[in-house]
């Protein structure tokens, strides 16, 4: 849906201080002053302070939002040190959100940052309703479905994301989202007999797009006949996501480096149950062997992507990807599947 654009619609009536203008100068030159003002009032929840959570947190805090709540009831483990740079070594076995606070605050003293350590399942709709965007890492499908549903009721934008080893994904639950995008066109400016000369013209256009619920992904049939061609073209990422989420459901945990060999076997069993297509051979041991803990560069990529999406959502500039993102570490391709949209 395309409509008339009011670029200043709902822009908070605040002025940035000189210090803010200077600090955010290089990004204001990219997304403009209005976007920076929108960021300035945004409140974000990041649940799950694993390596991915830390990367998303870093990028969001640097962008200059108003408030970031770090939420986690888990403790820092040795595994976190392979990508969670917000927790110091000496914080082992303390709460991960608490342990991340100090370094998170150092990233940008202008942002209000606090920690919450209560289990996620105890959190009700009032809690989620305080935020503009909620990002949840490392949760079960059941819990993601519950939070997505709450967010839909409350009109809060929702992201689910995960990284296993070097493989990652996000799901965007944005309900109805309005944004502005520049459309760029060429205009012929030369006269008929002259050599053709063009001028670019860019015009902001507003769009309104529907983002389906998380249930659309849970109900999505990866074995559907009509989907196989696409699967072949994009690679087996979406199948791998299914396998890993299934592993989490069955074993109530993720594959562990401590039981690497046994877990590789378990992954293969789930793979063979879930799919019969030739894709199974693409998900060989080499691919499955890179799914343990969270590896820093991959987490940086997925964390960068998720944070950029959150920024797009807050600033209402540019189209957020709809709606399932896959990072394929084998090729380094990052692509988007549209799930649940006819």
């Amino acid at each position: 849906m395309v409509m008339e654009v009011d670029l200043t619609e709902n822009v908070p009536s605040i002025e940035l201080t000189e210090a803010e203008s200077e600090l955010y100068d290089r990004q204001i030159r990219l997304w403009g002053l209005e976007s920076q003002k929108r960021l300035r009032t945004a409140k974000i929840l990041i649940s799950g302070l694993n390596g991915l959570g830390a990367e998303i947190t870093k990028n969001i805090i640097l962008s200059g939002v108003s408030l970031v709540k770090l939420h986690d009831d888990k403790l820092v483990t040795e595994e976190d040190f392979s990508s969670q740079f917000l927790v110091p070594r000496e914080s082992l076995t303390t709460n991960r959100a608490q342990a991340s606070l100090e370094r998170a605050r150092d990233l940008n003293p202008m942002v209000d940052i606090s920690a919450d350590t209560e289990p996620l399942k105890n959190k009700t709709s009032e809690f989620f309703g305080q935020f503009d965007v909620v990002v949840v890492n490392g949760q079960s499908n059941e819990e993601l479905l519950r939070i997505d549903t709450i967010c839909r009721e409350k009109g809060v934008k929702f992201y689910a994301s995960d990284v296993w080893g070097t493989f990652g994904f996000f799901f965007a639950g944005l309900q109805t989202h309005r944004y502005v995008e520049d459309e760029i066109k060429y205009k012929l400016i030369s006269k008929p007999k002259e050599k053709p000369k063009y001028e670019t013209v860019s015009k902001p256009v507003q769009h309104e797009v529907e983002y389906p619920a998380y249930s659309s992904w849970l109900n999505f049939n990866i074995n559907a006949a009509g989907y196989q061609r696409k699967l072949k073209r994009n690679g087996p990422g979406i199948v791998l996501l299914r396998i890993l989420q299934k592993f989490r459901i069955i074993h109530k945990r993720d594959p562990s480096y401590k039981t690497r060999e046994q877990d590789l076997t378990k992954l293969q069993v789930i793979r063979d149950e879930l799919i019969s297509s030739p894709t199974a051979t693409d998900l060989n041991e080499q691919v499955l062997g890179m799914l343990f803990a969270q590896i820093s560069p991959a987490v940086a990529i997925v964390g960068g992507v998720v944070a950029q999406e959150v920024i797009k959502v807050i600033t209402k500039v540019e189209a957020p990807h709809r709606n399932l993102f896959i990072f394929d570490p084998n090729t380094c391709a990052g692509y988007v599947e549209t799930i649940g949209v006819n």
Partner: protein, 688 residues
């Protein structure tokens, strides 16, 4: 850390990570992220080099630095911060330039892989040459706004950084700047020149006064008379002490070599200076009536006619996003003139001020003067914020693109260490998805090295089209060999006679420097042997003399003989639809969506005044970019227009590079119809 925990990485990779020695060049936006990824992945032996210090505007993305680090060495602070993430790593920090002679081929040879995260093309070219020489794989990266790119360079296997021509800058003829500006950038360039004329290093071709030798101003019949009259009139005007310059090249041209002295003699009286630059000089231009036959004539402004301004300069001067009125600009002009002149007069000896976009009075001065001149010529005025982008070559930079790009860089380092060369193709980060719904886009094939590359070919040579009667030996060294061809310290001998033109030994060839090439018998057909000992780089230069016209560049490097073709065939505007076609094509093979290339929309991306385009430098650090992926090697059908390989450059000219977006479906019937859309590299047309 990851590698030190058994079971996280596969055994072979784990061992490689633990035992490899890695060099990170650049501790800016990408460098900080790369360093973090390396230590967390378990690399134990890392060196990082950066000559820069930390600036406040870095802190929105260079997350290893905090407010208390402003002014400190990037390399050192990055090292300390990264060590807190993994105290087991060993990091050596060098607060130094990578082009320094300390870091020779033997230094580079120590490393298993080099990750470069630089912000300028000169340093990139240098690191490229060092890695080729040392035969160390190089992972080259850059970002600009939402766009990022990572490419692997491995001797003999891939293209080197200099295999493909980088796009050219747009330069402005002196006449446009001095006589007939038509765009804001022309006035901004003029204002920077004015700053330099008054307070900075004054360069002859940065003159700001009217150029009476403008060919367009000459009327065929009465030109001489008019000009003479104008010159005489000018010469008698007492206030500005004009001097005729005895210059055989510039017959009849008045060059105001003494603007600086005159301004000083006037004690920088704002009224006098304002009236000279914005009234008398404009009136002089008006007398060159031919210029205004097809243009709107400028309107001079007198200081006395200015309306009084309400409010304090200190208040409206801070409003960087609002366009200042002419009255406000004039007050700011007067105020900054006071600040700058007193700073200038306090300097010792021949020292001069250096224009810096982050120096408030210098930036205010240029903003005010550019807008006053724009007003005079009826050109759109700009806010100080916008002028800063254009005058300071600022490349927008965000944390997320840097994080993504650095992540891709280290992912590729894993492949490089495992010698998985087939999985090392370039990757691009984009804002929007391409035709395959990718926005992190790996190339679908490996472009082979360019056999005519003047860096990595076995016996590299270039043709130098040069006006040997106007270029000196010093110009050859500074402008051509160092600035354009990125050598560090070249020796040059004449091939046939073996005589030494330039020596890297200090003082050995000083007496040659002022001589013209032709005076040294370097004329058409002569071959020069250049040797940069530090880069271990030898290049043959074939001299091709031409008589440059007044507005011609005095030299042009042609990297490839087949590129010697009439320049008329390559018109910038026409290229756009061609680019477009190529972009579309790439969308199909999975590479890029055209409209979010580095050239994104004008709104979101200011036109950088720059020195090249593939790499746009900036004094920030992240930097740079690229034309859309595989510009020159993409499997597109043959195009009748080849990209230029030569790099054109005019000796110390102001240059601006305006990138245009390319998103449109305009039909260009000069293009052959695309018949095949395919991913396979068999389609590759090597454009050499």
């Amino acid at each position: 850390m990851a590698a030190s925990i058994d079971g996280i990485l596969p055994k072979t990779l784990q061992e490689l990570v633990k035992s490899s020695k890695v060099l990170v060049v650049g501790a800016g936006g990408i460098g900080c992220e790369v360093l973090k990824n390396l230590v967390l992945s378990g690399f134990l032996d890392i060196e990082i080099i950066d000559l820069d210090t930390i600036d406040l505007s870095n802190l929105n993305r260079q997350f290893l630095f905090h407010r208390e680090h402003v002014g400190k060495s990037k390399a050192n602070v990055a090292r300390e911060s990264a060590l807190s993430f993994n105290p087991d790593s060993k990091i050596i920090a060098h607060h130094d330039s990578v082009t320094s002679a300390k870091y020779g081929v033997n230094f580079f040879k120590k490393f298993n892989v080099v990750l470069s995260a630089l912000d300028n093309r000169a340093a990139r070219n240098h690191v490229n040459r060092m890695c080729l020489n040392a035969d160390v794989p190089l992972i080259e990266s850059g970002t600009s706004g939402y766009n990022g790119q990572v490419e692997i360079i491995k001797r003999g296997l891939t293209q080197c950084y200099e295999c493909t021509p980088k796009e050219k800058q747009r330069s402005f003829p002196g006449c446009t700047i001095r006589n007939t500006p038509s765009e804001p950038i022309h006035c901004i360039v003029w204002a920077k020149h004015l700053f330099n004329q008054l307070f900075g290093e004054s360069l002859e071709d940065e003159d700001i006064s009217p150029d009476s030798a403008d060919p367009e101003a000459q009327d065929k019949n009465e030109g001489d008379a008019n000009e003479k009259e104008a010159n005489e009139k000018e010469a008698t005007e007492g206030e500005a002490k004009e001097q005729k310059k005895e210059d055989k090249q510039d017959d009849g041209n008045i060059v105001r070599i003494n603007t600086r002295q005159w301004a000083k003699d006037c004690e920088y009286d704002p009224t006098k200076l304002f009236n000279k630059f914005f009234n008398e000089d404009i009136n002089y231009l008006l007398r060159m009536s031919n210029l205004w036959e097809s243009r709107k004539a400028p309107t001079p402004i007198e200081w006395s006619s200015l309306q009084p301004v309400e409010g304090e300069v200190s208040e409206y001067g801070k409003q960087h996003h609002r366009i200042w009125s002419i009255g406000e600009c004039s007050q700011i002009f007067a105020n900054t003139l006071k600040d700058l002149s007193s700073a200038f007069l306090n300097l010792e000896g021949d020292d001069t001020l250096v224009w810096d976009k982050d120096d408030q009075p210098a930036m205010d001065f240029v903003s005010a003067c550019a807008n006053i001149r724009s007003h005079i010529f009826d050109i759109e005025k700009k806010s100080r914020f916008e002028i800063k982008s254009m005058a300071g070559n600022i490349i927008p930079a965000i944390a997320t693109t840097n994080a993504i790009t650095a992540g891709l860089s280290v992912m590729r380092a894993f492949n490089v260490l495992q010698s998985k060369w087939k999985q090392c193709n370039s990757v691009y980060a984009r804002l929007r998805t391409n035709g395959r719904n990718q926005f992190l886009v790996p190339d679908t094939f490996f472009p082979p090295p360019n056999p005519n590359c003047y860096v990595c070919a076995s016996d590299p040579a270039i043709i130098l089209k040069v006006d040997t009667k106007r270029i000196t030996i010093k110009d050859l060294r500074d402008e051509i060999l160092i600035k354009t061809l990125n050598m560090v310290d070249p020796d040059v001998t004449v091939d046939r006679t073996g005589s030494i033109l330039l020596s890297s030994e200090e003082g050995e060839t000083t007496e040659n420097e002022g001589k013209l090439l032709s005076e040294m018998n370097v004329v058409d057909g002569v071959i020069l042997e250049c040797d940069d000992f530090h880069q271990n780089y030898k290049l043959r230069i074939i001299i091709n003399h031409f008589d440059a016209d007044r507005e011609d560049n005095l030299f042009e490097v042609v990297a490839d003989k087949s590129q010697l073709q009439p320049k008329d065939e390559i018109k910038e505007a026409e290229d756009k639809p061609v680019e477009e076609k190529r972009s579309r094509k790439r969308s199909a093979n999975g590479n890029d969506s055209p409209d979010d290339g580095p050239s994104t929309s004008k709104r979101s991306r200011p036109d950088p005044e720059e020195d090249d385009c593939m790499v746009i430098e900036d004094d920030d650090d992240d930097v740079v970019i690229t034309s859309p992926p595989d510009n020159d090697s993409d499997p597109s059908p043959p195009s009748p227009k080849k990209p230029e390989t030569g790099c054109k450059r005019k000796a110390s000219t102001d240059i601006t590079e305006i990138l245009d977006s390319s998103d449109e479906d305009d039909d260009d019937n000069t293009q052959p119809k695309k018949t095949k859309l395919d991913d396979t590299p068999s389609d590759v047309i090597n454009i050499d």
